[in-house]
Amino acid sequence: MFKYSILFYTLILFILFPSKSFAYLDPGTGSMLLQALIGLMATLFTTFYIFLNKIKLFFKKIYYKIFKKK
């Protein structure tokens, strides 16, 4: 389980750290990880939202088809 969590955070770090930021201050690993997590959550929510809309659309289509047939 621990190995998985290490893998997860390593992945986040790989994803997150930009190549050239020209930032002269240390942004702090914790803060960067937090923002990676927010980013990840935002992506997940967006994906979920799109997926939910697709399902809604799918059922709407069926509903309209039935309605039209009537």
Binding site: T10, F22, L25, P27
Partner: protein, 465 residues
């Protein structure tokens, strides 16, 4: 030309004091960034919207050559530079909100602030203003908020410290110039703050991540592989993070101040004759000597500071140890739009030169540029309560400003009596005769006016050249 030492951290430019003007040079590294800011008129717009201090480009060939810079900027010169460890709770809170508002303003225009240093904010007429235009940068979609950690350490954590402990943050901040670290505040926070979602999300969670990554050496791994770029932190998340912090900071309350003076009361609580007499003396002093830059030692709620401004002074720095007085003064300066800067000040231990090379942040005396001093009902707090010898105290007053008013409070005064009652009279040299003798040695005594039945007297002095 004098380089201002506090500006050494930013590789994109430096700040100089040149012929009494504040000049910022843009370095080769900062050129591209500055050109982008310039071409989008973002500095002008920031000034127009009261976010940034007055800044304009100057074209001085000699200076450009001397500083090896293609671009030079001139900033409005501040009468007095203050530091976050000298601010009151409300001042730091307003500065934090100003920083976040500016960040939102910039993000909407495709820019951002690359850091979140509280030292980049100064107070002008009771309002926080941003002073470092080279902290502005083009916003890159997906890039996280680099200043988040710094914002927490320099703005949020000191405020949380005071809320949690009911102790002023100033002395800790002065001892730790970069603010209060997340791992430090995490140990101090009370339970109700710990379970607050904003606090948990912005401080406790990053602190846990930080601990975890240090334990596993993850940050080294990441730095080696830092070429993997992925735009992950989108603009909406950026806005959400900033707005949630702004909402939280806007709603917090200073636990040390009673709520009854929430709104500044126009009614004067002072009515006795002595108070009016003191006011008359101060008014005459300011008008007669045409004093422009005043320091009000022990400013209380800023009544005398305002009086100075009404009578021709251009700027007043009010210093006080008492946080309630400070908040009242700040509210006065804010609501009445006064050029009055109240600051936290322990006269027995004033700010000294600190930081890198012991001159990153200047001490109180180094920043003094006052032409007039007011020290009413102040001297005995140092001479009696802090055992400071009269001679040294008077010399210190004269070092602060060449002209001034000092109120001498004799031993038979009620306040001094209480102080001595507890301590015992260990001050054989503390008497008016001695006070006058020492003052006369170092200055011309212009006038002496009695205020009060106990023999309190206000001495007006003019320092000998």
């Amino acid at each position: 030309m004098q380089k201002i030492p506090g500006s050494f951290r930013d590789p994109s430019g430096s700040v100089f004091n040149y012929q009494n003007k504040i000049i910022r040079s843009v370095s080769k590294i900062g050129e591209q960034k500055y050109l982008h800011i310039k071409n989008n008129n973002i500095i002008e717009e920031s000034i127009k919207n009261n976010f940034l201090i007055n800044t304009f480009e100057i074209d001085d060939v000699f200076l450009k050559e001397k500083l090896n810079s293609s671009f030079l900027l001139e900033h409005q010169k501040l009468e007095y530079v203050s530091y976050p460890y000298e601010w009151s709770f409300e001042q730091l809170r307003d500065a934090a909100i100003h920083h976040l508002n500016y960040q939102i303003f910039l993000l909407e225009k495709g820019f951002e602030l690359i850091d979140a240093s509280a030292y980049n904010i100064q107070f002008i007429r009771g309002k926080p203003t941003f002073i470092d235009c080279l902290s502005l940068s083009k916003y890159q979609e997906g890039r996280p908020w680099f200043g988040h950690n710094q914002f927490c350490e320099q703005f949020l954590n000191p405020l949380l410290f005071t809320i949690s402990t009911k102790v002023l943050f100033n002395n800790w901040y002065k001892g730790s110039l970069e603010g209060i670290k997340n791992n430090e505040i995490a140990r101090i926070l009370n339970f109700s703050l710990k379970i607050n979602p904003v606090v948990f999300f912005n401080i406790l969670l990053p602190n846990l991540f930080d601990k975890f990554s240090k334990k596993k050496n993850l940050s080294d791994l990441a730095l080696i592989n830092n070429n993997k770029i992925r735009n992950n932190f989108n603009k909406n998340s950026y806005f959400w993070l900033i707005r949630s912090l702004k909402k939280f900071i806007s709603n917090i309350k200073n636990p040390l101040t009673p709520t009854f003076w929430g709104r500044y009361n126009e009614e004067k609580t002072y009515s006795d004759i002595n108070y009016s007499k003191k006011k008359e003396i101060v008014r005459n002093f300011i008008i007669k000597n045409n004093i422009k830059n005043v320091v009000d030692l022990g400013c209380n709620d800023g009544d005398f500071s305002e009086l100075c401004l009404i009578n021709g002074a251009e700027h007043v720095v009010g210093l006080d140890y008492d946080h309630i007085s400070l908040e009242k003064s700040y509210l006065r300066s804010k609501t009445k739009n006064l050029n009055f800067l109240p600051l936290y000040f322990d006269a027995a231990n004033p700010s000294s030169n600190i930081g890198w090379y012991q001159n990153e942040r200047y001490g109180f005396l180094e920043r003094c540029n006052f032409d007039g001093l007011i020290a009413l009902a102040f001297e005995h707090h140092l001479a009696i309560a802090k055992n400071i010898p009269l001679g040294e105290l008077i010399k210190w007053f004269l070092d602060i400003a060449p002209l001034g008013l000092i109120e001498f409070v004799p031993k038979n005064d009620k306040t001094v009596g209480i102080m001595l009652g507890l301590k015992g009279d260990i001050f054989p040299d503390y008497n008016e005769e001695n006070f006058r003798k020492i003052l006369a040695k170092l200055s011309n005594i212009v006038s002496v006016s009695e205020v009060g039945d106990s023999g309190r007297k206000i001495y007006e002095y003019k320092k000998l050249r």
